[in-house]
Amino acid sequence: MSVTAAPLPLDRLKAILAEIADLKHAESIADWDSRVSMPPDGAAARADMTATLTRFIHGRLVSDEIGELLEEVGELGDEVDAALVRVTKREWERARRVPSDLAAELTHSAGIAVAAWDKAKAASDFESFVPHLERQLELKLRYIACFPEVETAYDVLLDDYEEGTTTADVERIFARLKEELVPLIEQHADAGPELQGPFPLERQQQANRLVLDAFGWDPASWRIDETPHPFASKPGARDIRLTTYTSESDLTSLFSTMHEFGHGVYEFDIDEALARTPLATGTSSMIHESQSRLWENLVGRSRGFWRWFYPQLQPLFPDRLGGIDEDAFVRAISAIRPGLIRCDADEVTYGLHIILRFELEQDLLAGKVAVRDLPEVWNARMKEYLGVDVPDDAHGVLQDMHWSTGLLGYFPTYQLGNIASVQIWDRARADLGDLEEQFARGEFAQLREWLRDQIYRHGSVYPPRELLRRVTGSDLDPEPYLAYLRAKFA
């Protein structure tokens, strides 16, 4: 009989983390399936399955054994191993603060609230959603109370999504944005003609595939499906799933496809050596969003891109686009048009949609605004920031799913992602030269390789702000983003 040595603490830790990663893989499939392929009546059983998986994941994560192993492992010289320990420690400590019944309740009530939100939105009936949102808020306050040493309540939530960024950071940045965006919108809002559908669904899907092919997706590892609320997910290595929503009335599906591609390519290009560890995912919501926005806006709304793609798009919709030349088309997809819906917003007004939500979230947590009064406050602020009248709550406070799933403190990361995207973009152009000429030839590989080398392959090895510094040489800074907007729109 051979004598096997007891496994080293780091190996043992990795083995447990691999199991957690496997359970998260199952959780991810359960979620993707429920949004893409599950027959509707399967929902109740699926909620049970998901709750069980979540309970096991949480239970494994908060185990004493992980704490002991983290102690035993100690300081590590290897950069990746050290990052693994750092990230695990952070997750372990945060999870340990939260009693498991509260963790379970957060998941469980979110499941119920999403279904309630779905119905409420369809009927534009905020009243029916009030108790669910109140419940989410109450649970979030209990969650915040698990971190008594944090002075600003909102910091607790923000830190879940954006490590190292505080509410004060966000306030400072958003104040600067407001200063510039409001006048920019006032001076340059465009009332020119919008693109008119119908755009047949199959043709749109064909266009989406052409773009994905050029960006470098591979059907052996990727798929794309239709869902009402587009998202991207990676259950496991080399399994990337995008979703989009294609509507005959407009071409937003193309932009949402490029957006989700950005999320997908970040996950796909993570070094496979990190697979089945907590490092095998993008480092934060902000950095993730910087990549979705980069591919959607900085690439997908650029002149170079359309010089290449418009001649391919136009013949797919001859009766709709035949009479519109490239210039007019690019203007139409770039116009500043204050509107009701965040997801449909242009690059400039988008920021104000986020700022509004950030402010309301803080007011809710501070008890300055009651859930019941949300629609009124929402509508007033939409009028103030964007000058639009909200006709009903479906187009107002009920438009986003986030609050129903307990995602409070998440919205700011979208706008921080916009800001980071331009910092990264500027750096890429400094390194690679003018990219638009390549785009005009349908070539995107050089950009992607650069991003892979600089960002994607590292997964979560570096915390978000540190990664940004490594890549761009500076900290999070709104000025490049504002300069980009001024140059493009002013």
């Binding site: 496997d22 027959p39 009546d41 399967g42 049970d48 399955m49 496991g236 080399r238 089945r276």
Partner: protein
């Protein structure tokens, strides 16, 4: 944990159930949705989830709860939910805890390796490359058998995993009866001359096949709120949770087998669909055994889907869907073609009669393997000789012989007999349904299948796994498993072919 012992047991079993169904969903996704390069990560995820489900079930807590619940079990009505739950759980727990976790892990690993070697081996018709995997899985099966107290026959222990409490001797008795009757029947049919089924091969647009398959499924009771149907290479049914039934089928572009495959998988699905919802998230909330499951897939595929009355209703519609291919073929010719009996090489393409001989051959070889009377290396030769003896045909290569099924590569020994047992039981249940409901033909001719489905739900499906398979069959039919009704059915149905 709080609550009474039975509540705690239910809680634990619900957890195990959720994990097993998550594994089922991962498998469905892998076969239907997953991009191919996701396979490695999926294998790991599936391994972890299945292992966790097993660990949670064989945990000492479960044993302790079962001990605590002995009194409840004895004082409760055996038909009650509680007594059934405790009884069934105890039986499974006692079996599962006999097998060391290392052996379970090794079997799972060998199965994964065997299945991944199977594809290329079959494609190259290369038995030799498969041999080490088969030897390994046979060796593991031997070790598995040794975990249990000696049975009358080693094979009993294998069989019990798929058809609880069924004995090899009983299967042999049934199969001998089938063999004695079917071999002459096949000869008689062959002597009666050939039936033209050439029109069943041709170009059949897969999208149209799908539309037609769904039309049939809807008439049977499929609806979009609870069901879905997807294309796959090897058809199967999966139910990752209550209210969630997933059929798959293979829409081959040059024949109509997808229709029968869809009806077959619908039978599996409707059985799961009909299980009493009060049994959900317990081991009782599913079909009772593979054999009984197969009885239902075969009922909907053959007893309904190859019946004259069914085609009286549906054939005009099918003709409308494929006018170029079937426009000039009358209903009688079509009916005879889809019921044509002819010895052939491949089990899954076999007709209702010869199918059973494919199974009997496998059943016999499996016993010889597990008892060490046949070496893996000699399997192709034994296979080919028996195909010649039972079906009179020569096997041209191992891809169409011993390598045609993936079961053995995955370590499944003792599984095959359940297919033929399902055939046998299907007719027993059917006769009882017809006894209660009267002749169903006039309803089928109008495309009405609701009464049959509801009868099956009421008498069979809703019972789930509360009783043993044999007890279930006795409750439904009043009789023990018996091959005679099935043989009578085949003789009656096929008499015109001999005329």
């Amino acid at each position: 944990m709080t609550g009474t012992a039975i509540e705690r047991l239910r809680e634990r079993l619900a957890e195990v159930h959720d994990l097993s169904r998550a594994a089922m969903l991962l498998t469905w996704d892998e076969r239907v949705m997953m991009p191919p390069n996701g396979a490695q990560a999926r294998a790991e995820a599936l391994g972890t989830v299945s292992k966790l489900a097993q660990e949670r079930f064989i945990d000492v807590d479960v044993g302790r709860l079962l001990d605590e619940l002995r009194d409840v079990e004895e004082s409760s009505d055996p038909d009650s939910f509680e007594a059934s739950l405790i009884r069934v759980t105890r039986r499974r727990y006692e079996k599962a805890t006999r097998v060391p976790p290392e052996l379970v892990g090794e079997m799972r690993r060998a199965s994964a390796l065997g299945l991944s070697a199977y594809g290329p081996a079959k494609a190259a018709s290369d038995f030799e490359s498969m041999r080490p995997y088969l030897e390994r899985s046979l060796e593991l099966r031997q070790r598995y058998v040794e975990c249990f107290p000696p049975a009358d026959e080693k094979y009993d222990i294998l069989l019990d995993d798929y058809e609880p409490e069924m004995k090899t001797a009983e299967v042999r008795r049934i199969f001998d009866e089938l063999k004695d009757e079917l071999r002459p029947l096949i000869e008689e049919i062959a002597d009666a001359g050939d039936i033209d089924d050439s029109f069943l091969t041709g170009e059949f647009d897969p999208a149209t096949q799908r539309r037609v398959a769904l039309e049939i499924a809807h008439a049977f009771g499929y609806d979009e709120r609870e069901w879905r149907l997807d294309p796959t290479l090897h058809p199967f049914m999966s139910s990752p949770g209550a209210g969630d039934l997933r059929l798959t089928t293979n829409f081959r572009p040059n024949d109509l087998t997808s229709l029968f495959a869809t009806m077959h998988e619908f039978g599996h699905g409707v059985y799961e669909w009909g299980v009493d919802r009060a049994l959900a998230r317990t081991p009782l909330g599913t079909g009772v055994s593979l054999g009984v499951h197969e009885s239902q897939s075969r009922t909907w595929e053959n007893l309904v889907g190859r019946s004259r009355a069914f085609w009286r209703w549906f054939y005009p519609r099918l003709q409308g869907a494929f006018p170029a291919q079937l426009g000039s073929i009358d209903e009688e010719s079509f009916y005879r073609a889809v019921n044509k009996v002819q010895p052939s090489l491949i089990r899954i393409d076999a007709d209702e009669v010869t199918y059973n001989l494919h199974i009997i051959l496998r059943f016999e070889l499996e016993q010889e393997l597990i008892e060490g009377r046949l070496a893996v290396a000699d399997l192709p030769e034994a296979w080919n000789a028996r195909m010649k003896e039972y079906l009179g045909i020569d096997v041209p290569d191992d891809a169409r012989g011993v390598l045609q099924d993936m079961h053995w590569s995955g370590g499944s020994l003792g599984y095959f007999p359940t297919y033929a047992l399902g055939n046998v039981m299907s007719v027993q249940i059917w006769e009882r349904a017809v006894g209660d409901l009267g002749d169903l033909d006039d309803r089928f001719e109008r495309g009405e299948f609701g009464e049959l489905r509801e009868w099956l739900r009421e008498h069979l499906y809703k019972l789930g796994a509360k009783f043993t398979p044999q007890e279930t069959i006795e409750r439904v039919t009043g009789n023990h498993i018996d091959a005679k009704p099935y043989l009578r059915y085949l003789r009656e149905k096929l008499a015109p072919q001999m005329a």
